[in-house]
Amino acid sequence: MSALRGLLRKEIVHIRRDPRTLTVLIALPVVQVVLFGYAIRTDVTNVRLAIVDPMPDHATLDLRNRFAAAGVFRIVAVVPRTENLEPLFQTGAAQQAVVFEPDFGDHLENTPSARLQIITDATDPNTGALLDAYASSVIDVWQRELASRDVVSALRRTPRTRVVIVPQTRMRFNPTRESSNLFVPGLMAFVLTIISSLMTAISLTREKETGTMESLLVSPLKPWQIIVGKVAPYLVIGFISVVTILLEALLLFRVPLRGNVLLLLAEGGLFILTSLSLGILVSARTSSQRVAMIGALVGTLLPNVLLSGFIFPVESMPAVLQAFAFVIPGRWFVEIARGIMLKGVGLDYLWQATLILGVTTLLLLAASTRSFKTRLE
């Protein structure tokens, strides 16, 4: 056992002597959380709105004020013609435009209908859909008010009832719809993958590349001891990272943690093991550090970021990728972490995901130890 301890100590010295990598390892979780908290958001606010109003009258001005007062919109330009809009859209100065027809107010009072056009920059389809919804709702509300106002001027109109269905919406589990609440679990998966898979792969292949692996093998250390010795420090760093991220999330962004913290940490530990075994597997297949890095990147990091539901929802992906996502450990961990943090559920809901993670880990460990041994012996 003392041989193992010696190996551990050497590994720690290695890590300490490489301040640049160490800095990145420590800074990474911190920076990521900040970035995700403040930068990665999908809420739409402060919409830049342009108005095309060829003949302003009391009606158009009224509706224009409505938009300005809605709080979501910011009127950036008022132009007389639709042709003026193109450069505004192309430079991004405007995201949406409301186009009144000439004689809008007149038509409104004296004809069956007046025409209005909403033009939205739908380059980003989601934002486009949201913008449409916002604008439409402002117009709807204004219409309804006009209708009820007309009730008052009874002499001019026959009061008309318009059917109104009143939606009562509850946003479950994420009432404030803070994007940060959603990203934190995925962030943990991301950072842990880097630390566990990437670093492990590189550390092991570095020994192979410099030839020191051979001297390790010739020593009385058994292969499993070598692996444990090299990998254990990253287990610790991984745990520290998880705790760091959690603390940041809880303190800085007030992300909820409705479930059991211990369960979360335990699942975190399980995921670290999964990532570590992936890293070992990657390193077992190659002796070149660079190939290991690329392999780890493509094989672990990218899938974990893209296909885990971290940023992009899994349901939105084509079926092929959704199926692929099934075998990606990150996807399960994200589900588990979100469940614990946001919904406050326990193993009763999460046992399936946990089981999958556990089985995956065992399989990977078996595959990697076998691969490791045959390569070296």
Binding site: V24, T42, L116, I118, A147, T161
Partner: protein, 373 residues
């Protein structure tokens, strides 16, 4: 000077001969492009929805039919089990649960208005918002349909009714890939420019070949030019490949001038290369180069509006992104390809890119020393 060409020639040979580099330059980015473009979407496909119809009248059925017909929702109805709906939300099975209460029809007929309950699984993030928007739109339209006016009474004294037409510019098919691919191309070019450069020069440091070059009379400028030239060309080749792939596989629009895009890319690459060069002066080994590059590129990409809109970011972050060259190139790329913008419209971000290129390169060249202090 000829020295630059000799160095560049040797550099090209390096790249061709090294299989790992070739894979990194050609294979990995294309694979990334394909996967990323498919995965990176917030587009809502069929959202699983529970509808609990506690009313079971013609009017309530009418709403259910409308929602089914819209194609946005995959509807599973549960007769009267609110618990099931709740469970579904908890388990993450559904994005939306709608409860049509008792007396729905009665309230509409009698009072002209009725409540309806929507529970949105906000865990799904922006999907939740979109789904809610769709649902509300359908509900609104249905309400309009139910209004007596819909019966088509030709009363000249109708109250004001606004005919709203909605036009979506630039992405009529709402294809998320058209939005993502131009941005992803920027990411790929950045990776080549920065990561590869940093890695390459760090490798020379590690192997000692850099020292051998420092001992020759080659000047700092000649060395950097000779080194960066091949990567600059590679970056542009990468862009071309990516564009071709994007066009062939995803049918991305090419509304603006592709030549203009390449012109901007040429300038942008100087920034990326400069950053790579600067990173190489900070590190001693390849591994460190990879790590630091990755770390920095990661920050750039996340703050670039590539994955999530700049407009959604916290205000102070938006200000910070002004110094992020990736942000500007992503905006330019989207403006040119998707919106068909020309030189006038992209002038401002382009000028920022140009300035950044000059500053970064000057700084990086200054940092790189032939003689150690």
């Amino acid at each position: 000077m000829h020295r630059i060409l000799y160095l560049a020639q040797a550099e090209v040979l390096h790249v061709i001969r090294d299989r790992a580099t070739l894979a990194q330059v050609f294979v990995v980015p294309m694979v990334q492009l394909l996967i990323l473009a498919n995965a990176a979407t917030f587009q809502i496909r069929n959202s699983d929805t529970y509808i609990v119809d506690l009313d079971r009248t013609t009017v309530s059925r009418g709403l259910v039919t409308r929602m089914r017909a819209s194609g946005h929702f995959r509807i599973e109805e549960i007769s009267s089990s609110l618990d099931r709906a709740n469970e579904g939300l908890l388990a993450g099975d559904v994005t939306l649960a709608i409860v049509i209460p008792h007396d729905f029809e009665r309230n509409i007929v009698r009072a002209g208005q009725a409540p309806i309950e929507l529970s949105v699984n906000a865990e799904k993030g922006s999907a939740a918002g979109i789904v809610q928007a769709y649902a509300l739109r359908i509900i609104n339209d249905y309400a309009a349909e139910l209004s007596p006016e819909a019966a088509g009474e030709a009363d000249a004294r109708h109250p004001a009714r606004i005919d709203v037409s909605v036009r979506s510019r630039y992405n009529a098919t709402q294809n998320y890939k058209h939005y993502m691919v131009p941005g992803i191309l920027v990411a790929l070019v950045t990776l080549i420019g920065t990561l590869l450069t940093a890695q390459n020069i760090a490798r020379e440091k590690e192997l000692g070949t850099l020292e051998q070059l420092n001992v020759t009379p080659i000047t700092r400028g000649q060395f950097i030019a000779g080194k960066l030239l091949p990567f600059w060309a590679l970056g542009l080749i990468e862009l071309a490949l990516g564009l071709a792939l994007g066009r062939l596989v995803f049918d991305i629009p090419l509304r603006g001038s592709v030549l203009l895009l390449f012109g901007v890319a040429s300038v942008y690459l100087f920034v990326a290369l400069g950053v790579g060069l600067w990173i190489s002066t900070l590190v001693e080994t390849q591994q460190q180069a990879m790590f630091v590059s990755f770390f920095i590129i990661n920050i750039y990409l996340l703050m670039s509006g590539l994955f999530t809109p700049i407009d959604s970011m916290a205000p102070w972050v938006q200000v910070v992104t002004q110094v992020n060259p990736v942000r500007h190139f992503v905006a330019i790329s989207r403006a040119i390809l998707v919106k068909g913008a020309g030189p006038a419209e992209i002038a401002r971000p382009f000028l920022i890119l140009l300035t950044t290129a000059i500053v970064v390169l000057t700084f990086a060249i200054r940092q790189h020393r032939k003689v150690a202090r």
